[in-house]
């Protein structure tokens, strides 16, 4: 269908030429410079969210009514299994969980929890490790890959996610800048709270197709290191 391709592209070019009054198309460098100026203007438009530092802002946003996740803090990743166990007990859930095949999670000791590497269509609980988080919106970032299959974030009823404090970006653009120019994974999933729908009469109901509950365990504190230097 290269015929359609050339038809569309030449229709675009001739319409643009007419709009420009016949002057030639901008050079690639000019277009890039204009795009960069637009990118720079974003910083002044961002909502003011970062008072108290990225960690505080992230946690506040996460547990706000709009995002509706739950959250707790632990000092090290080694405490994550105990946090998972507390969550399972508090919710009255069975102690069998699907484990995202991430080496950092597999290296942990999981006493009194049965873990499996396959995720079932009606999986009650999955445990995962996010690549990062965004403070502005209370968002978790996952990149699909051998240690992070996409479906672990979408099939379970409860998703329990550890995130290391040093991996929090302040703003959406900070994340975008961090990955710019790098090889993209098949999926980048930005996850902001448990699944929901307002499709029936605008009434918000959680747990539409994705998880109904999202519990975040924030590991360590980069902010604390800074303040202990004072």
């Amino acid at each position: 269908m290269s015929d359609a391709r050339s038809t569309i592209l030449s229709a675009v070019s001739s319409a643009l030429e007419r709009r420009r009054g016949g002057s030639p198309a901008a050079e690639e460098a000019t277009i890039a410079a204009e795009a960069e100026r637009l990118r720079a203007r974003a910083d002044a438009t961002r909502p003011d969210r970062l008072r108290g530092g990225p960690e505080t802002a992230f946690l506040e946003r996460l547990v706000s009514a709009a995002v509706a996740a739950s959250a707790e803090r632990v000092a090290t990743l080694a405490e994550f299994p105990a946090a998972v166990r507390r969550y399972l007990t508090a919710k009255g859930l069975a102690s069998s969980v699907a484990m995202q095949p991430h080496p950092d999670l597999l290296a942990l000791d999981w006493p009194q929890i049965e873990t499996h590497g396959q995720i079932h269509i009606d999986e009650p609980v999955a445990v995962g490790l996010a690549l990062g988080a965004i403070a502005e919106t209370g968002t978790l970032v996952f990149h699909s890959g051998p240690t992070s299959p996409t479906l672990f974030a979408f099939l379970p009823a409860h998703h329990i996610v550890a995130i290391e404090a040093r991996r929090i970006w302040s703003w959406l653009e900070d994340y975008a800048d961090a990955i710019a120019g790098r090889a993209q994974p098949r999926n980048v999933n930005l996850i902001t709270g448990p699944s929901g729908t307002t499709d029936i009469e605008g009434t918000l109901v959680r747990g539409a197709h994705g998880p109904g509950w999202l519990h975040v365990v924030l590991v360590g504190s980069a902010d604390a290191q800074q303040s202990s230097n004072n």
Partner: protein
């Protein structure tokens, strides 16, 4: 193209909508909610005005260099392992999608809501090809069961009350459950669709943004159905309009802030996903084939014929929620894929002005739509443009043309205008009883539905002159 089936006129559809009390309740519930949530989100965002200008400028920049960005996107998407297809129009796009499905031996296809898919008639094309289509967005699932077209671009099942949804689920779900609450209905749909996600051979989605510098396709959903639609099947097909481009992921972020707040009042949808190519070596899930169908469908004509501003539209639905006409008649009365102000601008381009000449008129020009538009599209100006074209292309009825000719003559003769309007208010007051006119010759179009307020005894100019004469 098949001939359009005979269907009721715009007036008849509006009449039916206005006479449906359930519809009014349903529209008010959802759009009222949307308006107040959007207002709260904007109040909490002092940067909105600047972001809106930035959003407009980003889209204008992309449109001004659309050829450059299309080629850049194609190059990067190909490098990620995607297959790119170009379609000049809806039928061509549908043909391509069906061909990919056939080649994959697909019996069952899951679909995540896409307005472009509706625009090009993809649901119908899949059915005609004998491929089972499973809509996975809750609202799309509801209207698929009901056999209805969407009535809103963000809430396609907005016209259904909870009681009507419960009835549909009871009739169609294999194991509907109790359905006593909205929660139970959502659970019933989750249960019904669960196994369909994994059984599908092909997943089809749309695109909210196409990211030129990575070749990625961005989708936003709250339910998580898009990822469950696009991850398990062997093949993922994206259909996207060529105007969906953004220069980079960072530019997409500004538009995401604007889009989601304008649509639902949230800051970000629960799931914002960038799909880039097929499954990588070592990946444990994901499709092995990733196809992107880039559709023109009138967009290059919009660019050439003075409608480039409309190519900025990011399909948030705010103009629908704030439109006084949409809020009375709902989406179906428009008789087109896109209802409301943005629809009345797009539809004449997509289907021809002669087939949709009532739509640019279904507007009070109160300017609300432009005010809430997150990319500042001058919708009233564009609608007025269609009205001018209706006039210049002779599509207005003889009555309207003659009426306007009379008015024009009077307006060009002010003394006569004053005299005639002076007679008119006097004659009108003969028909008034207690401040209202119930019936009057030539005013049946108004008085059939409601009373007409009695005008003052004298025209404005007459009153003004009389007052100026006083010392």
């Amino acid at each position: 193209m098949n001939a359009a089936p005979q269907r009721p006129s715009f007036d008849a559809r509006v009449h039916a909508a206005l006479g449906n009390p359930l519809l009014k309740v349903a529209i008010d519930r959802t759009t009222g909610n949307a308006r107040s949530k959007r207002a709260a989100a904007m109040a909490a965002w002092p940067g909105f005005a600047a972001a809106r200008e930035l959003g407009r400028d980003i889209k204008d920049h992309v449109i001004a260099h659309l050829d450059h960005y299309l080629v850049q996107f194609e190059r990067n998407a190909l490098a990620s392992g995607a297959q790119i297809h170009w379609a000049r129009n809806g039928p061509e796009a549908c043909e391509m999608v069906v061909a990919i499905c056939r080649k994959a031996g697909a019996r069952s296809v899951t679909r995540a809501k896409s307005m472009l898919g509706e625009e090009i008639g993809l649901p119908h094309a899949l059915e005609a090809a004998g491929i089972e289509r499973v809509e996975t967005d809750l609202a799309e699932h509801i209207i698929q069961l009901a056999g209805d077209p969407p009535s809103h671009i963000v809430w396609p099942a907005l016209h259904k009350t909870r009681e009507q949804v419960a009835e549909l689920f009871r009739a169609h779900h294999h194991d509907p459950g109790a359905l006593a609450s909205v929660e139970a209905m959502v659970a019933s749909a989750r249960h019904e669709l669960r196994s369909r996600f994994l059984a599908a051979d092909v997943g089809i989605s749309g695109a909210n943004f196409l990211v030129a510098d990575t070749g990625a396709v961005c989708t936003v959903t709250n339910e998580g159905n898009a990822e469950l639609t696009t991850t398990p099947p062997r093949v993922h097909i994206v259909t996207a309009g060529i105007e969906k481009l953004v220069p980079s992921t960072a530019h997409a972020m500004t538009l995401l802030r604007l889009l989601v707040r304008s649509a639902t009042g949230a800051e970000l949808t629960q799931y914002t996903t960038f799909h880039c190519g097929p499954k990588r070596p070592g990946d444990l899930d994901g499709p092995t084939e990733f196809h992107i169908v880039l559709v023109d469908g009138g967009r290059t004509r919009m660019l050439a014929e003075g409608l480039a501003d409309m190519l900025r539209c990011i399909r948030c639905g705010a103009c629908l929620n704030h439109c006084v006409v949409y809020r009375q008649i709902g989406g179906h009365a428009y008789g087109s894929t896109y209802p409301g102000p943005m629809g009345s601008v797009l539809t004449p381009m997509l289907t021809g002005l002669a087939q949709s000449k009532d739509l640019p008129r279904a507007c009070t020009l109160n300017g609300q739509c432009q005010e809430v538009c997150p990319v500042a599209i001058p919708l009233p100006t564009l609608l007025r443009g269609w009205r001018s074209r209706l006039w210049s292309s002779g599509l207005e009825s003889l009555t309207v043309r003659q009426g306007l000719a009379v008015w024009r003559f009077l307006a060009l003769h002010p003394a006569l205008y004053r005299r005639v309007s002076g007679w008119a208010v006097r004659i009108m007051s003969w028909f008034a009883r207690g401040g209202w006119i119930r019936r009057m010759p030539l005013a049946g179009g108004w008085t059939r539905e409601r009373d007409l307020p009695r005008p003052p005894d004298r025209t404005f100019i007459a009153q003004y002159r009389r007052r100026m004469r006083r010392p």
